[in-house]
Protein backbone atom coordinates (compact mmCIF):
# COMPACT_ATOMS: atom_id res chain seq x y z
CA UNK A 1 0.00 0.00 0.00
CA UNK A 2 1.34 3.42 -0.96
CA UNK A 3 1.75 6.09 1.58
CA UNK A 4 0.06 9.38 0.84
CA UNK A 5 3.13 11.31 -0.16
CA UNK A 6 4.29 8.81 -2.76
CA UNK A 7 0.76 8.46 -4.14
CA UNK A 8 0.50 12.21 -4.55
CA UNK A 9 3.92 12.43 -6.10
CA UNK A 10 3.15 9.79 -8.70
CA UNK A 11 0.09 11.74 -9.78
CA UNK A 12 1.87 14.99 -10.16
CA UNK A 13 2.19 15.55 -13.86
CA UNK A 14 4.03 18.79 -13.59
CA UNK A 15 5.33 21.14 -11.01
CA UNK A 16 5.13 24.58 -12.52
CA UNK A 17 7.95 26.67 -11.15
CA UNK A 18 8.54 29.70 -13.28
CA UNK A 19 12.08 30.86 -12.84
CA UNK A 20 12.28 34.58 -12.68
CA UNK A 21 16.01 35.09 -12.41
CA UNK A 22 17.52 36.40 -15.64
CA UNK A 23 15.55 36.24 -18.82
CA UNK A 24 16.86 33.20 -20.53
CA UNK A 25 14.45 30.49 -21.48
CA UNK A 26 14.25 26.82 -20.87
CA UNK A 27 12.01 24.21 -22.38
CA UNK A 28 9.96 21.98 -20.16
CA UNK A 29 8.97 18.46 -21.00
CA UNK A 30 6.04 19.59 -23.16
CA UNK A 31 8.25 21.79 -25.30
CA UNK A 32 7.05 25.22 -24.29
CA UNK A 33 9.43 27.82 -23.06
CA UNK A 34 9.44 28.66 -19.41
CA UNK A 35 9.98 32.21 -18.39
CA UNK A 36 9.48 33.52 -21.89
CA UNK A 37 7.34 36.63 -22.10
CA UNK A 38 6.33 35.70 -25.60
CA UNK A 39 4.84 32.39 -24.67
CA UNK A 40 2.55 33.52 -21.86
CA UNK A 41 0.50 35.84 -24.01
CA UNK A 42 -1.93 35.45 -26.86
CA UNK A 43 0.38 37.25 -29.26
CA UNK A 44 1.77 35.31 -32.21
CA UNK A 45 4.08 37.93 -33.74
CA UNK A 46 7.42 37.75 -31.94
CA UNK A 47 8.97 40.95 -30.65
CA UNK A 48 11.56 41.64 -27.99
CA UNK A 49 10.68 44.37 -25.55
CA UNK A 50 13.59 46.66 -24.85
CA UNK A 51 13.67 49.61 -22.52
CA UNK A 52 16.27 51.50 -24.49
CA UNK A 53 16.64 50.20 -28.05
CA UNK A 54 20.29 50.48 -29.03
CA UNK A 55 21.42 50.77 -32.59
CA UNK A 56 23.88 47.90 -32.29
CA UNK A 57 21.12 45.68 -30.88
CA UNK A 58 18.96 46.35 -33.94
CA UNK A 59 21.91 45.53 -36.21
CA UNK A 60 22.55 42.37 -34.22
CA UNK A 61 18.93 41.28 -34.63
CA UNK A 62 19.22 41.89 -38.36
CA UNK A 63 22.37 39.80 -38.42
CA UNK A 64 20.54 36.97 -36.63
CA UNK A 65 17.76 37.19 -39.20
CA UNK A 66 20.37 36.76 -41.95
CA UNK A 67 21.94 33.79 -40.16
CA UNK A 68 18.53 32.17 -39.65
CA UNK A 69 18.25 31.89 -43.44
CA UNK A 70 21.37 29.76 -43.81
CA UNK A 71 20.91 26.26 -45.16
CA UNK A 72 22.62 23.15 -43.87
CA UNK A 73 26.14 22.73 -45.28
CA UNK A 74 26.46 26.51 -45.44
CA UNK A 75 30.25 26.17 -45.05
CA UNK A 76 30.42 23.34 -47.62
CA UNK A 77 31.89 21.14 -44.86
CA UNK A 78 28.55 19.85 -43.66
CA UNK A 79 27.84 22.35 -40.87
CA UNK A 80 24.28 22.48 -39.56
CA UNK A 81 22.42 25.75 -39.96
CA UNK A 82 21.33 27.45 -36.71
CA UNK A 83 17.84 26.27 -35.76
CA UNK A 84 14.95 28.45 -34.56
CA UNK A 85 15.59 27.55 -30.95
CA UNK A 86 19.20 28.67 -31.17
CA UNK A 87 18.24 31.93 -32.87
CA UNK A 88 15.75 32.57 -30.07
CA UNK A 89 18.39 31.81 -27.44
CA UNK A 90 20.89 34.11 -29.12
CA UNK A 91 18.28 36.85 -29.17
CA UNK A 92 17.76 36.43 -25.43
CA UNK A 93 21.50 36.60 -24.83
CA UNK A 94 21.72 39.75 -26.95
CA UNK A 95 18.95 41.37 -24.97
CA UNK A 96 20.87 40.63 -21.78
CA UNK A 97 24.07 41.99 -23.35
CA UNK A 98 22.16 45.14 -24.22
CA UNK A 99 21.38 45.71 -20.54
CA UNK A 100 25.14 45.80 -19.94
CA UNK A 101 25.71 47.67 -23.22
CA UNK A 102 28.19 44.96 -24.13
CA UNK A 103 28.29 44.82 -27.90
CA UNK A 104 29.62 41.64 -29.51
CA UNK A 105 32.50 42.18 -31.92
CA UNK A 106 30.92 39.71 -34.31
CA UNK A 107 27.97 37.38 -34.64
CA UNK A 108 28.49 34.31 -36.76
CA UNK A 109 27.12 30.89 -37.40
CA UNK A 110 29.06 28.15 -35.64
CA UNK A 111 30.49 25.27 -37.62
CA UNK A 112 29.35 23.06 -34.76
CA UNK A 113 25.73 24.09 -35.36
CA UNK A 114 24.63 27.23 -33.61
CA UNK A 115 25.39 30.90 -33.16
CA UNK A 116 28.61 32.38 -31.80
CA UNK A 117 28.65 35.86 -30.25
CA UNK A 118 32.28 36.88 -29.87
CA UNK A 119 34.08 39.69 -28.05
CA UNK A 120 37.59 40.85 -28.71
CA UNK A 121 39.69 43.52 -27.06
CA UNK A 122 43.43 43.48 -27.68
CA UNK A 123 44.66 40.03 -26.77
CA UNK A 124 41.56 39.17 -24.82
CA UNK A 125 38.94 37.04 -26.46
CA UNK A 126 35.62 35.74 -25.26
CA UNK A 127 32.54 34.25 -26.83
CA UNK A 128 29.12 32.94 -25.99
CA UNK A 129 28.07 30.09 -28.19
CA UNK A 130 24.45 28.91 -28.43
CA UNK A 131 24.30 25.41 -29.85
CA UNK A 132 21.43 23.74 -31.68
CA UNK A 133 21.39 21.16 -28.91
CA UNK A 134 20.13 23.84 -26.51
CA UNK A 135 23.40 24.17 -24.65
CA UNK A 136 25.12 27.53 -24.23
CA UNK A 137 28.83 27.76 -23.48
CA UNK A 138 31.08 30.69 -22.70
CA UNK A 139 34.81 30.96 -23.31
CA UNK A 140 37.47 33.41 -22.21
CA UNK A 141 41.11 33.37 -23.25
CA UNK A 142 44.06 35.71 -23.38
CA UNK A 143 46.47 35.59 -26.30
CA UNK A 144 45.15 32.11 -27.02
CA UNK A 145 46.14 30.89 -23.56
CA UNK A 146 44.47 30.43 -20.19
CA UNK A 147 41.35 29.26 -21.94
CA UNK A 148 38.37 28.84 -19.64
CA UNK A 149 35.15 27.24 -20.80
CA UNK A 150 31.94 26.91 -18.86
CA UNK A 151 28.32 26.11 -19.54
CA UNK A 152 25.76 28.83 -19.05
CA UNK A 153 22.66 27.69 -17.22
CA UNK A 154 19.55 29.76 -16.62
CA UNK A 155 20.76 31.22 -13.41
CA UNK A 156 24.23 32.30 -14.42
CA UNK A 157 23.68 34.17 -17.69
CA UNK A 158 23.74 37.57 -15.98
CA UNK A 159 26.83 36.76 -13.96
CA UNK A 160 28.53 35.36 -17.08
CA UNK A 161 27.85 38.56 -18.99
CA UNK A 162 29.22 40.60 -16.10
CA UNK A 163 32.29 38.41 -16.03
CA UNK A 164 32.88 38.74 -19.77
CA UNK A 165 32.33 42.49 -19.59
CA UNK A 166 34.94 42.86 -16.86
CA UNK A 167 37.30 40.47 -18.60
CA UNK A 168 37.14 42.25 -21.96
CA UNK A 169 37.39 45.73 -20.48
CA UNK A 170 40.21 45.04 -18.06
CA UNK A 171 43.72 46.01 -19.10
CA UNK A 172 45.99 43.29 -20.42
Amino acid sequence: MKNISSAVYENVFEIDMRLTVGESTQRNEFGWEKNSTQKYVTQFTPVTYVDEPKEWLQDSFKRLTELSKLNDDWDSYGAESPNNWTISQARDVLKNLSSEDLKPSSIDASVEGGICLSFQSGLRYSDIECFNSGEIFAVTSENGENTKVWEIMNLNLTSTINHIHNFIQSKT
Binding site: F30, T42, Q43, V47, T48, Y49, P53, L57, T65
Partner: protein, 266 residues
Protein backbone atom coordinates in the same frame (compact mmCIF):
# COMPACT_ATOMS: atom_id res chain seq x y z
CA UNK B 1 -16.43 53.36 -37.78
CA UNK B 2 -12.90 54.64 -38.55
CA UNK B 3 -11.40 52.84 -41.51
CA UNK B 4 -7.84 52.84 -42.82
CA UNK B 5 -6.35 51.67 -46.11
CA UNK B 6 -2.88 51.08 -44.66
CA UNK B 7 -3.30 50.55 -40.92
CA UNK B 8 -0.22 49.61 -38.86
CA UNK B 9 -1.93 46.50 -37.52
CA UNK B 10 0.27 43.40 -37.69
CA UNK B 11 -1.87 41.01 -35.72
CA UNK B 12 -5.46 40.56 -34.59
CA UNK B 13 -6.57 38.20 -31.86
CA UNK B 14 -10.16 37.10 -31.27
CA UNK B 15 -10.58 35.04 -28.14
CA UNK B 16 -13.14 33.45 -25.88
CA UNK B 17 -12.76 32.45 -22.25
CA UNK B 18 -15.22 29.89 -20.94
CA UNK B 19 -15.81 27.24 -18.31
CA UNK B 20 -17.57 23.91 -18.33
CA UNK B 21 -15.19 21.63 -20.18
CA UNK B 22 -14.40 19.49 -17.17
CA UNK B 23 -14.03 16.38 -19.28
CA UNK B 24 -11.46 17.95 -21.64
CA UNK B 25 -8.26 15.89 -21.63
CA UNK B 26 -4.93 15.71 -23.43
CA UNK B 27 -6.34 13.35 -26.04
CA UNK B 28 -8.81 15.98 -27.24
CA UNK B 29 -6.05 18.27 -28.47
CA UNK B 30 -4.98 15.55 -30.88
CA UNK B 31 -8.49 14.60 -31.91
CA UNK B 32 -9.39 18.21 -32.63
CA UNK B 33 -6.13 18.83 -34.48
CA UNK B 34 -6.83 15.82 -36.63
CA UNK B 35 -10.04 17.50 -37.78
CA UNK B 36 -8.30 20.79 -38.58
CA UNK B 37 -4.99 19.45 -39.78
CA UNK B 38 -5.69 20.02 -43.46
CA UNK B 39 -5.81 23.80 -42.81
CA UNK B 40 -3.49 23.95 -39.80
CA UNK B 41 -0.74 21.43 -40.47
CA UNK B 42 1.70 22.78 -37.87
CA UNK B 43 1.41 22.11 -34.17
CA UNK B 44 3.05 23.55 -31.10
CA UNK B 45 2.58 23.27 -27.36
CA UNK B 46 3.00 26.43 -25.32
CA UNK B 47 2.42 27.60 -21.78
CA UNK B 48 -1.21 27.91 -20.70
CA UNK B 49 -2.73 31.34 -20.23
CA UNK B 50 -4.06 32.42 -16.89
CA UNK B 51 -7.60 33.70 -16.54
CA UNK B 52 -8.07 37.30 -17.68
CA UNK B 53 -11.66 37.85 -16.59
CA UNK B 54 -12.36 41.53 -16.01
CA UNK B 55 -13.62 42.11 -12.49
CA UNK B 56 -15.49 45.14 -11.22
CA UNK B 57 -16.08 46.27 -7.69
CA UNK B 58 -13.88 47.17 -4.79
CA UNK B 59 -10.25 46.27 -5.51
CA UNK B 60 -8.97 43.53 -3.29
CA UNK B 61 -5.30 43.53 -2.42
CA UNK B 62 -3.85 40.10 -1.95
CA UNK B 63 -0.28 40.07 -0.85
CA UNK B 64 1.64 37.97 -3.37
CA UNK B 65 2.78 34.70 -1.87
CA UNK B 66 5.33 32.31 -3.31
CA UNK B 67 3.55 29.18 -4.36
CA UNK B 68 4.15 25.85 -5.99
CA UNK B 69 1.20 24.47 -7.86
CA UNK B 70 0.70 20.71 -8.10
CA UNK B 71 -1.62 19.59 -10.83
CA UNK B 72 -2.76 16.11 -11.72
CA UNK B 73 -2.91 16.58 -15.47
CA UNK B 74 -0.93 18.70 -17.89
CA UNK B 75 -1.96 22.31 -18.17
CA UNK B 76 -1.20 23.23 -21.73
CA UNK B 77 -2.21 25.34 -24.65
CA UNK B 78 -1.94 23.97 -28.16
CA UNK B 79 -1.27 25.97 -31.28
CA UNK B 80 -2.60 24.83 -34.64
CA UNK B 81 -0.77 26.89 -37.27
CA UNK B 82 -1.45 27.20 -40.98
CA UNK B 83 1.26 26.39 -43.49
CA UNK B 84 2.07 30.08 -44.08
CA UNK B 85 2.42 30.93 -40.37
CA UNK B 86 -0.30 33.47 -40.83
CA UNK B 87 -3.30 32.15 -38.93
CA UNK B 88 -3.27 30.34 -35.65
CA UNK B 89 -5.88 28.59 -33.51
CA UNK B 90 -5.00 28.40 -29.82
CA UNK B 91 -6.84 25.90 -27.65
CA UNK B 92 -6.73 25.26 -23.94
CA UNK B 93 -9.29 23.86 -21.55
CA UNK B 94 -10.89 27.26 -20.93
CA UNK B 95 -9.76 29.28 -23.96
CA UNK B 96 -10.32 29.43 -27.69
CA UNK B 97 -8.29 32.02 -29.60
CA UNK B 98 -7.94 32.82 -33.27
CA UNK B 99 -4.99 34.92 -34.51
CA UNK B 100 -4.24 36.47 -37.85
CA UNK B 101 -0.84 38.03 -38.34
CA UNK B 102 1.00 39.81 -41.05
CA UNK B 103 3.86 37.70 -42.31
CA UNK B 104 5.32 39.72 -45.15
CA UNK B 105 5.74 43.46 -45.46
CA UNK B 106 3.42 43.47 -48.43
CA UNK B 107 0.57 41.60 -46.71
CA UNK B 108 -2.48 43.78 -46.50
CA UNK B 109 -4.65 43.68 -43.44
CA UNK B 110 -7.58 41.54 -44.55
CA UNK B 111 -10.14 43.50 -42.48
CA UNK B 112 -12.44 42.26 -39.79
CA UNK B 113 -15.86 42.11 -41.34
CA UNK B 114 -15.13 40.30 -44.57
CA UNK B 115 -12.27 38.07 -43.55
CA UNK B 116 -11.21 37.75 -39.93
CA UNK B 117 -14.67 37.59 -38.35
CA UNK B 118 -16.03 34.86 -40.70
CA UNK B 119 -12.78 32.90 -40.38
CA UNK B 120 -13.07 32.99 -36.60
CA UNK B 121 -16.74 32.00 -36.73
CA UNK B 122 -15.97 29.02 -38.92
CA UNK B 123 -13.36 27.49 -36.62
CA UNK B 124 -15.33 28.42 -33.50
CA UNK B 125 -18.37 26.54 -34.87
CA UNK B 126 -16.11 23.63 -35.69
CA UNK B 127 -14.78 23.66 -32.13
CA UNK B 128 -18.35 23.68 -30.77
CA UNK B 129 -19.35 20.75 -32.98
CA UNK B 130 -16.33 18.86 -31.69
CA UNK B 131 -17.31 19.57 -28.07
CA UNK B 132 -20.82 18.32 -28.75
CA UNK B 133 -19.67 15.25 -30.65
CA UNK B 134 -17.25 14.24 -27.91
CA UNK B 135 -19.84 15.03 -25.21
CA UNK B 136 -17.38 17.13 -23.28
CA UNK B 137 -19.97 19.27 -21.53
CA UNK B 138 -21.65 22.55 -22.27
CA UNK B 139 -19.59 25.68 -22.84
CA UNK B 140 -20.32 28.52 -20.49
CA UNK B 141 -18.92 31.60 -22.21
CA UNK B 142 -17.59 34.11 -19.68
CA UNK B 143 -15.87 36.74 -21.76
CA UNK B 144 -14.64 37.54 -25.22
CA UNK B 145 -11.47 39.38 -26.15
CA UNK B 146 -10.38 41.36 -29.16
CA UNK B 147 -6.76 42.46 -29.48
CA UNK B 148 -5.15 44.49 -32.25
CA UNK B 149 -1.37 44.72 -32.24
CA UNK B 150 0.09 47.64 -34.15
CA UNK B 151 3.71 48.23 -35.05
CA UNK B 152 4.59 51.90 -35.29
CA UNK B 153 7.92 51.67 -37.07
CA UNK B 154 10.60 54.22 -36.46
CA UNK B 155 10.92 56.44 -39.50
CA UNK B 156 7.22 56.30 -40.29
CA UNK B 157 5.74 59.35 -38.62
CA UNK B 158 8.21 59.43 -35.75
CA UNK B 159 11.97 59.44 -35.36
CA UNK B 160 12.46 59.73 -31.61
CA UNK B 161 10.57 60.30 -28.39
CA UNK B 162 10.67 63.99 -29.36
CA UNK B 163 7.90 63.22 -31.87
CA UNK B 164 5.68 61.29 -29.54
CA UNK B 165 3.15 64.08 -29.23
CA UNK B 166 2.81 63.91 -33.01
CA UNK B 167 1.82 60.25 -32.76
CA UNK B 168 -0.41 59.97 -29.70
CA UNK B 169 -3.12 62.43 -28.79
CA UNK B 170 -2.79 61.65 -25.11
CA UNK B 171 0.93 62.44 -24.79
CA UNK B 172 2.79 65.71 -24.85
CA UNK B 173 6.45 66.43 -24.26
CA UNK B 174 7.36 69.21 -21.81
CA UNK B 175 7.98 72.55 -23.51
CA UNK B 176 11.56 73.40 -24.42
CA UNK B 177 13.47 75.05 -21.63
CA UNK B 178 11.77 73.07 -18.92
CA UNK B 179 13.88 70.85 -16.75
CA UNK B 180 13.75 67.36 -18.24
CA UNK B 181 15.61 66.25 -21.34
CA UNK B 182 13.87 64.03 -23.86
CA UNK B 183 13.03 60.62 -22.46
CA UNK B 184 15.38 57.96 -23.72
CA UNK B 185 12.50 55.53 -23.93
CA UNK B 186 8.80 55.65 -23.40
CA UNK B 187 6.02 53.23 -22.56
CA UNK B 188 2.57 53.60 -21.11
CA UNK B 189 -0.61 51.74 -20.21
CA UNK B 190 -4.13 53.04 -19.96
CA UNK B 191 -7.43 51.37 -19.12
CA UNK B 192 -10.95 52.45 -20.07
CA UNK B 193 -14.18 51.09 -18.63
CA UNK B 194 -17.04 50.42 -21.03
CA UNK B 195 -20.49 51.80 -20.16
CA UNK B 196 -22.52 49.64 -17.76
CA UNK B 197 -19.27 47.90 -16.90
CA UNK B 198 -19.59 45.57 -19.84
CA UNK B 199 -15.83 45.29 -20.02
CA UNK B 200 -12.60 47.22 -20.42
CA UNK B 201 -10.30 48.47 -23.12
CA UNK B 202 -6.65 48.09 -22.19
CA UNK B 203 -4.02 49.99 -24.10
CA UNK B 204 -0.28 49.57 -23.92
CA UNK B 205 2.62 51.14 -25.75
CA UNK B 206 6.04 49.55 -25.41
CA UNK B 207 9.32 50.04 -27.25
CA UNK B 208 10.46 46.83 -28.89
CA UNK B 209 12.55 45.30 -31.61
CA UNK B 210 10.71 43.18 -34.12
CA UNK B 211 12.40 39.80 -34.16
CA UNK B 212 11.91 39.21 -37.86
CA UNK B 213 13.93 42.20 -39.06
CA UNK B 214 15.36 43.93 -35.99
CA UNK B 215 13.34 47.07 -36.73
CA UNK B 216 12.75 49.44 -33.83
CA UNK B 217 9.05 49.85 -33.19
CA UNK B 218 6.57 51.12 -30.70
CA UNK B 219 4.14 48.28 -30.16
CA UNK B 220 0.67 49.68 -29.59
CA UNK B 221 -1.62 46.96 -28.27
CA UNK B 222 -5.33 47.48 -27.72
CA UNK B 223 -7.27 44.74 -25.97
CA UNK B 224 -11.00 44.92 -25.38
CA UNK B 225 -12.46 42.35 -23.03
CA UNK B 226 -16.25 42.15 -22.98
CA UNK B 227 -18.30 40.14 -20.53
CA UNK B 228 -20.68 37.74 -22.20
CA UNK B 229 -24.02 38.93 -20.86
CA UNK B 230 -27.61 39.01 -22.04
CA UNK B 231 -27.27 42.75 -22.62
CA UNK B 232 -24.55 42.22 -25.19
CA UNK B 233 -26.15 39.25 -26.95
CA UNK B 234 -24.40 36.31 -28.52
CA UNK B 235 -20.67 35.80 -28.83
CA UNK B 236 -20.29 37.42 -32.23
CA UNK B 237 -22.02 40.58 -31.02
CA UNK B 238 -19.73 40.51 -28.02
CA UNK B 239 -16.70 40.41 -30.35
CA UNK B 240 -18.17 43.14 -32.55
CA UNK B 241 -18.48 45.39 -29.51
CA UNK B 242 -14.90 44.63 -28.50
CA UNK B 243 -13.66 45.35 -31.99
CA UNK B 244 -15.58 48.64 -32.08
CA UNK B 245 -13.83 49.73 -28.87
CA UNK B 246 -10.45 48.76 -30.26
CA UNK B 247 -10.93 50.60 -33.55
CA UNK B 248 -12.54 53.72 -32.10
CA UNK B 249 -10.01 53.70 -29.28
CA UNK B 250 -7.15 53.47 -31.77
CA UNK B 251 -8.54 56.40 -33.74
CA UNK B 252 -8.97 58.50 -30.59
CA UNK B 253 -5.49 57.76 -29.26
CA UNK B 254 -3.59 58.53 -32.44
CA UNK B 255 -3.27 61.83 -34.25
CA UNK B 256 -4.71 63.05 -37.53
CA UNK B 257 -1.16 63.28 -38.84
CA UNK B 258 -0.67 59.54 -38.31
CA UNK B 259 -4.13 58.86 -39.73
CA UNK B 260 -3.00 60.51 -42.95
CA UNK B 261 0.03 58.21 -43.08
CA UNK B 262 -2.26 55.22 -42.52
CA UNK B 263 -4.65 56.50 -45.17
CA UNK B 264 -7.75 56.95 -43.12
CA UNK B 265 -10.86 56.93 -45.28
CA UNK B 266 -13.23 59.83 -44.96
Amino acid sequence: MPNFDAPPVVETVLGVEFSGLDRWGVQHFGLLWNQMRDRFPKFDVVAPLGSDIEEFGAPVYNRPQPSVQLVTEPEMRCWFIDEFDQTLVQIQKNRFIYNWRKTETGDKYPHYKNSIRPAFEKVWNEFNSFIAHEQLGSLNILQCEVTYINHLEIGTGWESTNDIGEVFTTLREPKQGEFLPLPEALSFNSVYIMPEKLGRLRVSVKPALRNSDGKEILQLTLTARVKATDEVGDLMKCLDLGREWVVRGFADLTTQRMHNIWKRKV
